[in-house]
Each structure stands twice: as C-alpha cells, then as structure tokens.
C-alpha cells in the first residue's frame, strides 16, 4: 500500500483498500474470536447478564481477598513455589513417581493427548468397562477425551453439574470453573425436561439440582471406573489433591473399583506444606469462597481398589522451554482471569474456540497450535486486570503482548496487515516522510483505525469520528511559541 503523496484516483483506491482491510479485521489476527464475539453480542441483554454474573463473582473474590491482609505476599509465595517446582520439575516428577509407586498407585506417562486417551482406554479395556463417570478435568477437555472414548464405544458421564449440563447440550464448557455460566436456568430446565424428564417449565435451580443429584446418584452407584482431574500433586508424598464443592470426585472415586486421575505435569508442587498456600489461594480467587467444600487428598488406593495416574506433557515441556511463556505453567486453573476480563465477560467462553478460554487460554493455546489460535492473543485490550487477580502472579497481559510478536514473526499474521504495518513503520520512522505523508501532516487521520473516515470502518458502527481541529498542536506551537 502506497502511503506517500498520490493522485486523487490513487487516494480513492487506497481508501477502499483501507476499508477492506478494516472489514477483514486487518489490525488483528485471524479474526475468528472477533467473529464469534460479534455473534455473542447480537443479544445485548444476554451479554449484560453474562457480564454481570461474572462481575459478581469478581466482586466476591475482591471481598474475600481484601479480608486477608497479606494476600499479596501469599500470591508471591504461590508464584515462587511454582517457579521453584518448575525449575526442578525433572527431579520432582521422578520423586512423585517413586512415591506413587510406593503408595501402590500405577503411574502412566503420556507425551501427548493421543497417548493420554489411549492409556485411559487401555485401562478401561483391561477391566472390560464401557461406562464411566468423570469429575471435572480441564486436561481431559484439552485432550478431547470424551469424543475419543465415545468413538470407542465408551459412555462417559460428566458428574460436575455444570459439566453435565453442557455435556447434555453437546457443548464444551465455556469456563474452567463455571462450565455452564452461559446457560440460563430456563434453558437448563428445558434441557432437563428433554433428558431427565423433569416437568416442562420448571426452572428452579434447587429443583433442577436435585433432579440431577438423583439422576447421577444412580451412575455413581453403578460405574466401575471413575476418572478425576488433579488440582495439586505433591512430589514429597505422591498424593493428589482434588477440590470440588459438589463432592462428585469423591462420590466417583470412592465407589468405583478403579480410580484414574489425569494431570498435566505442571500440577506438581514440591511439598505437602505448600498445599497450605495453594488451598488458601485457589477458591478465594475462583469463587470468593474461603475453601472448596472438599479438598480431598488421594494417596493410596483403598483396599481392593486400583488407582492410576496419567501424567501428561502435551506441549508443556515445550512451553517450559519458552522463557517468555513458561510462567503460564504456574496456572492453578482458578478462572479469576476470566471473571475479571472485560473481553471474556462480553464475548463468552466459546468465542475462544479452545478448551481453556479467557486470558489464560489465550496464552496457553498458541503453544499448542500457533496457527489455529493466532487470533487469541489479540482478543484483549491488554488492560492488565488478569495479571492482577492471578493467584500465582502470571504476567498474563505481558505474555499476550509477547505472543503477538511471536505470531507475527512466525508468519501467522495476515499478509495485508503486515504490508500495512510496514508502510506505517516506514512513514512514522521519518519525520519528513510523516509530514509529507498527507496534507498538513495528517497521516494519523488517514491511518489510525479510529480515523479512517468512511462507513466501512468498524469504528463507525457505534462511534462517531473525532472532529478534526483547524490546526494541529505542532502548527499551533510553531505559530505561538516561535518554534521552527
């Protein structure tokens, strides 16, 4: 795109090009998040409802953390423990494995999602089981385990109420802690009417929760294998801590003959005493509760039971090697960054088209597939609120900025955008070129996104353009202050 002085015809052409660029989300990545976000915003009342629900949780988080005078020191400690563990991860993984084996737990290692899924299926096959219950595990979402097992003839019942709701609806969770935060109770009532035979039109949360309790109780009592996620794995003891409010992980694991726990390898912490730090941080950050109802420490299988743990890499060792991004492995999956994110609240979890949505998802996803998720680091204003609420002080917004650089460097940015940026850099690097770029040096007017004055510019959909003053400050200064 030519930016230096041009004929009227050329200028017209340029304006049309600029409009096209803007329409194609020129200034951004692939535009997918923005398209999905635009769809979500078609129903403004629903956006308001979604935003306010999550903001309410953010406020609960504020209220409870402000009651802990040394909250910031606690975050710092959490961050440092994670850093220490990551810096010794090799040794701690070996220690964890040894302890697990001592405890009678079988340890499996999965290099990627495929291997993880195959390991799980092989355990099921060994026991000739084709029906299982599973409590919340974002790792299994990341690995698309449900699809894999279903294709292999296994019925998986997600037992967390929110996960069960989205599972019945055929959707992935839209939030890591609040899987069906995008569903209204009337819609859930309808869903339950369809799948559980509850009376049509009954949308009372108490009633619906009780219906799900009865429905899932039968599953807990009859399934021979239960899967759970892992919130924290302790190298020192070989135990796995699973936190729930509903008690579904415990109902599954303690009633089944086989318990399979799946964990990303970054779930490790060095010592049991570190749980004191993380259990203080986790639920206060997540929902504003002082602690989850159940913080269950699974160490040994009960008599006659089998226990397995699957330790999964799936890109984590690569992320560990990326200095700019390794801090993302500190994440304890509390979801606070989602609740506080003004973009997440107004675009919904599904707009991130990744198992983990929101700010943290946007810095984890490009590590898995930079091309597919090239849009996510751009789905942010870089406001920085996410980094402030993060209980382990991940520099989320700085990493978003760094991913943008990485994505461009690796060629996953639209060519048109690169051309425009190069032209912009060329002009702005020289005051002379800048001043002759347009009449009276109004380069900004023609090139800044908020100033491209035509109806194709997305700025104009809901906003007026700023008025153009009769002289710039530079012109005023030269006139009034005698500058040259």
């Amino acid at each position: 795109m030519k930016l230096i002085s041009c004929t009227r015809g050329e200028r017209l052409k340029r304006t049309t090009m600029a409009a096209e660029h803007n329409n194609n989300a020129l200034h951004n990545g692939t535009g997918l998040h923005s398209d999905l976000a635009r769809k979500f915003n078609k129903d403004e009342d629903r956006v308001d409802w979604h935003d306010e629900t999550l903001w309410w949780i953010r406020q609960k988080r504020d209220k409870i953390t402000h009651g802990i005078p040394n909250w910031e020191a606690l975050r710092e400690a959490g961050s440092q423990i994670k850093h220490h563990t990551l810096s010794n991860l090799n040794e701690y993984l070996v220690q964890f494995e040894e302890q697990c084996q001592k405890n009678g737990v079988t340890v499996h290692w999965a290099a990627d999602a495929q291997e993880h899924n195959e390991i799980v299926l092989s355990i099921l096959k060994k026991h000739s089981v084709d029906k299982i219950v599973k409590s919340k595990s974002m790792l299994t979402e990341e690995c698309h385990l449900n699809d894999y097992l279903q294709h292999n003839g296994v019925e998986v019942v997600d037992t967390d109420l929110g996960e069960r709701i989205v599972q019945l609806a055929g959707e992935p969770p839209s939030h890591i802690v609040l899987p069906c935060i995008h569903w209204k109770k009337e819609e859930i009532g309808e869903l339950f009417h369809q799948f559980m035979g509850t009376p049509k039109g009954n949308a009372d949360p108490q009633f619906l929760t009780h219906a799900a309790r009865l429905n899932l109780r039968e599953k807990f009592l009859t399934r021979k294998i239960a899967m759970t996620g892992v919130n924290f794995a302790v190298a020192e003891t070989g135990e796995m801590v699973v936190c729930t409010n509903e008690g579904n992980a415990d109902m599954g694991a303690h009633l089944a003959d086989v318990h399979i726990a799946c964990m990303g390898m970054e779930k490790l912490i060095a010592k049991r005493e570190h749980l004191g730090v993380f259990l203080r941080l986790l639920t206060r950050s997540a929902t504003g509760q002082p602690i989850t109802t159940y913080s269950s420490h699974f160490k040994k299988p009960r008599e006659g039971q089998e226990m397995h743990v699957v330790i999964v890499d799936n890109g984590r060792s690569v992320q560990l090697g990326r200095e700019s991004f390794r801090n993302s492995l500190k994440c304890i999956r509390c979801g606070a960054c989602m609740n506080t994110c003004p973009v997440y609240r107004r675009s919904g979890g599904h707009s991130y088209h990744n198992a983990i949505a929101g700010p943290i998802g946007s810095i984890l996803a490009p590590n898995l597939d930079m091309k597919k998720y090239a849009d996510l680091p751009f789905a942010s204003t870089l406001c920085g609120s996410c980094s402030n609420v993060c209980p382990v002080k991940i520099d989320i917004h700085d990493q978003l900025y760094k991913w943008r650089q990485e994505i461009v460097k690796n060629g996953y940015s639209p060519k048109t955008k690169t051309i425009a940026m190069k032209a912009m850099a060329f002009t702005l690097s020289s005051p002379t070129r800048y001043q002759i770029a347009g009449k009276a040096g109004r380069f900004v007017l023609k090139n800044m996104p908020f100033a491209v004055n035509n109806k194709f510019n997305p700025w104009y959909n809901e906003r007026e353009m700023p008025a153009v003053p009769k002289e710039s400050f530079t012109e005023w200064y030269k006139k009034n202050k005698g500058g040259k």
Binding site: H84, S87, L93, A111, E273, V277, T292, S317
Partner: protein
C-alpha cells in the same frame, strides 16, 4: 525411548535455572479468637455449628438425630447406639444412609474446614454418601490457618484424607447456591469443649 524418558529428558532440557523456595513465615493469618472465627466461617458456608461441653455431646446428638434413622458412627471414643462401619460390604450399600458421624482431627479458623482421614471413618465413601454429615472436633484442635493445619498434620497420614467445609453444594445454575449437590445436603459440626 519410552514416553516417560522422552518427557523427562525434554523437561530437563527445558527447565529454568534452579530457584529457591520462598520463606513462608511471614504469611500466616491470626485471629483474636480462633474458635469463634471457625464457627463464624463454617456457619456462613452452609453448616450448622454447635459448641458445647464434651459431657453434653452424647445426649444432644441423640436428640438431634432422633429415632429410626439409618446411622453409621465412626467415633470410637463415645459408645453410641449406632452401627459401626462394615468394611466387608460394598460401599454402595451405604446409599440411603441418613447420617455419618465422623471425628475431625482439627479445624481451621480461616476457612471453617475440618480435616478427616480414613483412619477414623474407614470406609471412604461415608462422609460423602450420607444425607447428613456430622463432624465432631475438639475446640482445642482448632488452628488459625492452613499453614498451621499442615504443620500439625505432617506428611505421614494414611491413604485418604480431606478437608471438609460444609455440606455439598453447587451454584452451577445461574450462580444460585444450592446445598446438596452430590454429597450430604446437611452438615453439622459439634465443637466440643
């Protein structure tokens, strides 16, 4: 090469320079009255809390439970007229259990959590499968915060332990709090002095 070795090698090559562990001594949170704080917090998260002298516990408990209930008691200290856990039957047998009575090893003032282990309750499903969970702790075991709790618990506990704070709950439907998701719908803590 096995996936195990592949992963461990990759991790070794990727991990950053060693960083020391932080000093945790500056973090603890203290209260003027830990027992009062414990009761306050646990009451706000859906549990009923009763503070009473140890010698009144038995009669109070019997009154609270009443007649004709399906109860399992795992406290050996008190001779109560209830069944003891039977490890010879499948845990599913305990579906429809009205009450589980379980001793807690300690309580945590900052969050109302009570630490329980399967050394006491023996059947791991018991605290979760019942309609109404009764946890019993001694007031003097209440600590201020989680750091103190783990100091006391140490690292040599048995196969399963849990912090339990209130009845099972969910707010997955429009953030409306409902007590009794999959586990107990009620929880009562007796704090004995």
């Amino acid at each position: 090469m096995s996936s195990r070795d592949k992963i461990l090698n990759a991790v070794k090559a990727a991990q950053p320079d060693k960083q020391p562990l932080p000093d945790l001594s500056a973090i603890p949170l203290k209260f003027d009255d830990a027992v009062a704080k414990f009761i306050e917090v646990l009451s706000t998260i859906g549990a009923t809390v009763k503070r009473l002298p140890k010698d009144r516990f038995q009669s109070e408990l019997m009154d609270d439970i009443g007649e004709g209930k399906n109860v399992v008691n795992t406290i050996s200290e008190f001779v109560l007229d209830f069944a003891s856990p039977d490890k010879t039957v499948a845990p599913q047998t305990y579906d429809n259990l009205d009450y589980s009575i379980i001793p807690g090893q300690l309580g945590v003032a900052e969050n109302g959590a009570i630490w329980v282990t399967d050394t006491e309750f023996q059947i791991r499903a018991l605290p979760f499968i019942c309609e109404h969970l009764i946890l019993v702790i001694s007031a003097e075991t209440i600590v201020h915060n989680m750091h103190e709790a783990y100091d006391k618990i140490g690292i040599d506990n048995p196969g399963f332990g849990a912090f339990i704070a209130g009845p099972s709950k969910t707010a997955d439907i429009e953030q409306s709090l409902v007590l009794g998701a999959h586990g107990p719908r009620f929880m009562t803590a007796y704090v004995l002095e």
